[in-house]
């Protein structure tokens, strides 16, 4: 069974984000970029399925600039088998990403697409659900546990607002990873070396012939209002007094 894992190159989660003064976006020049953390979790899950012999091949795909090859390389070092880059310098909306992934699924015919629930740059939380819709596949989002029943179905525990929900989806399906699905491994040096020999195919996103034109226009990107600095209190009694008399919230 083949597993496809879409991975996105995003600003590292530790980097302090700065909005550009011309309000056209955030400053990405010379900042550290990494694999989207949720996608690392998805790669880890796919590699574990491969190690258990459930998956026979793990293919990672990224849509983005040439440098996204580094992101793919990271996934290969974690244990994925081969990579595919759909190269574009355009910043694509989730619907366009989902349409390109739909085309990749058509070529690759995976039984399972395992991906992140959310990219931490745009915070859209949309591509997986959109991909499932376009393919007419079932979806299991926000997964904290995945149990495969051969190639027939997957039992997925989902993190939802009230607690946990477990559903069963027939394969093929799209599963999106939440934070607690697993703890991704660090690639070992030998595996990083091995990954250099694994194949990455590069294609132009434009060659897929799907409509990836933007549907939304970004008018501006601004800084959120800053909270004024507060005060330090000396004691818990002082705190209660201030919350009652000054803030009026008790």
């Amino acid at each position: 069974m083949k597993v496809l894992v879409p991975v996105k190159r995003v600003i590292d989660y530790n980097v302090k984000v700065r909005v550009k003064s011309d309000q056209t976006g955030v400053d990405l020049a010379n900042v550290k970029m990494s694999m989207n953390p949720f996608d690392e979790i998805a790669v880890e899950e796919a590699v574990r399925l491969r190690e258990k012999g459930v998956a026979t091949e793990v293919v990672v795909v990224s849509i983005g600039p040439a440098q996204a090859q580094d992101t793919i390389r990271t996934a290969l070092a974690m244990g994925a088998d081969r990579g595919l880059l759909l190269q574009t310098d355009q910043d694509l909306e989730p619907l366009a990403v989902a349409k390109l992934l739909q085309a990749v699924v058509g070529e690759e015919q995976p039984k399972l697409v395992l991906m992140g629930k959310q990219a931490i740059d745009g915070d859209n939380n949309a591509v997986g659900q959109m991909l499932a819709a376009l393919l007419d596949w079932p979806q299991a989002t926000f997964a904290s546990a995945v149990e495969l029943n051969g190639e027939a179905s997957a039992k997925v525990t989902r993190e939802v607002d009230g607690g946990l929900q477990t559903i069963e989806v027939d394969l093929p399906a799209v599963v999106t990873a939440d934070l607690r699905l697993n703890e991704p491994r660090y690639a070992s040096l030998p595996n990083i070396m091995k990954a250099k020999k694994k194949p990455i195919e590069v294609k132009a996103a434009a060659d897929y012939g799907v409509d990836i034109a933007p549907r939304l226009t970004v008018l501006k990107v601004t800084e959120p209002p800053k909270r004024g600095g507060g005060v330090k209190v000396e004691t818990a009694a002082d705190l209660v007094m201030k919350l009652k008399n000054e803030a009026g919230v008790l």
Binding site: K16, I120, N124, M130
Partner: protein
């Protein structure tokens, strides 16, 4: 322009996130209908009918809708969209699961987590964990939008809209509900509470987390929240997590105990009216956004706080 709002509920009670989403919808149009998907949810539909300004309530029931499986919910909404120009849902776990599926079926983009409706086609949404705000305009014929409920005031009561029952379409379902584990609690819901007390990694164990936070929450009538570190370590259940990838809250009072204040945590609580931080490290970033900071070990500070509250 007519707008369809998806109701947020548990089949027995309507959540106030629905009335907040109606407020956002009313900036787009005066023709706002509310859709209740569920099972045994007549009381929910009746409650939705009382939101002021709602034109009508549609009630669609079925077993797959009870669990709000995405395939069934999208199949229910998509045909209805012939009669609407926009679909709005609160950005709950249900809304986030279902809305993109609807958008893709309609071949339109989704605008996620909207915090401001500027006009009929312009919206503001946080990106990068709330470190930037993006203003986007959409010329899509039909708009699919998830709304951040904490950014809108609930529409008032006092309406008396008609409730129409609509048959749910039959779908060839490839997903089945198996079970759910709902965290039972008599406390207010995290997303709706006026006061939230939240614990972090410092609490060290589930026993300590509950032993420290529960009495305080009971005294204040507060909901309990947690940082990701506390949830990952098993001190608190997943639905307690506040942050970029957990729940977004904006209570009158948020008390962060033993939480450092990582940007991913701040993303979920920095719009609270008053923020209190209790942390033994004076350099902890949480103090930069706290209105009141108490540099102290929680082990002594919380008992003192309990006494001071009387």
């Amino acid at each position: 322009m007519a707008v369809l709002v998806l109701a947020d509920h548990d089949n027995a009670h309507l959540r106030d996130t629905t009335a907040k989403t109606v407020t956002a919808a009313q900036i787009l149009s005066t023709d706002v209908d509310v859709l209740v998907l569920g099972e045994g949810a007549k009381a929910v539909a009746d409650a939705a009918a009382q939101i002021a300004g709602v034109r009508k309530v549609l009630l669609m029931e079925g077993p797959e809708l009870k669990a709000m499986l995405a395939e069934a919910a999208a199949a229910a909404v998509v045909p209805l969209m012939d009669g609407y120009d926009a679909f709005l849902t609160p950005a709950t776990s249900v809304g986030k699961n279902v809305a993109p599926r609807i958008a893709a079926k309609l071949d339109v983009s989704q605008i996620s987590d909207v915090i401001e409706v500027v006009d009929g086609s312009t919206f503001v949404r946080p990106i990068y964990a709330g470190n930037a705000l993006e203003t986007v305009s959409s010329s899509e014929a039909k708009k699919v939008i998830t709304v951040r409920p904490t950014a809108f005031k609930a529409a008032a009561d006092g309406g008396s809209a008609p409730v129409e029952t609509v048959a749910a379409p039959t779908v060839q379902a490839h997903a089945r509900f198996v079970s759910e584990a709902v965290t039972a609690s008599d406390r207010p819901e995290l997303g709706a509470a006026r006061i939230v007390v939240s614990g972090g990694r410092a609490l060290g164990s589930a026993e300590e987390f509950n032993g420290v936070l529960e009495p305080l929450a009971d005294k204040l009538g507060a909901a309990i929240g947690a940082s990701r570190a506390a949830v990952d370590a098993g001190y608190a259940p997943n639905d307690y997590q506040v942050g970029q990838t957990g729940k977004v809250v904006a209570p009158d009072l948020y008390i962060a105990i033993g939480i450092s204040g990582a940007i991913q945590h701040l993303a979920g609580m920095k719009d609270s009216k008053v923020i209190v931080a209790i942390n033994k490290d004076p350099e902890a970033p949480i103090f930069q956004i706290a209105d009141y900071g108490l540099v102290a070990d929680y082990k002594t500070a919380i008992p003192e706080l309990m006494r001071a509250l009387g």
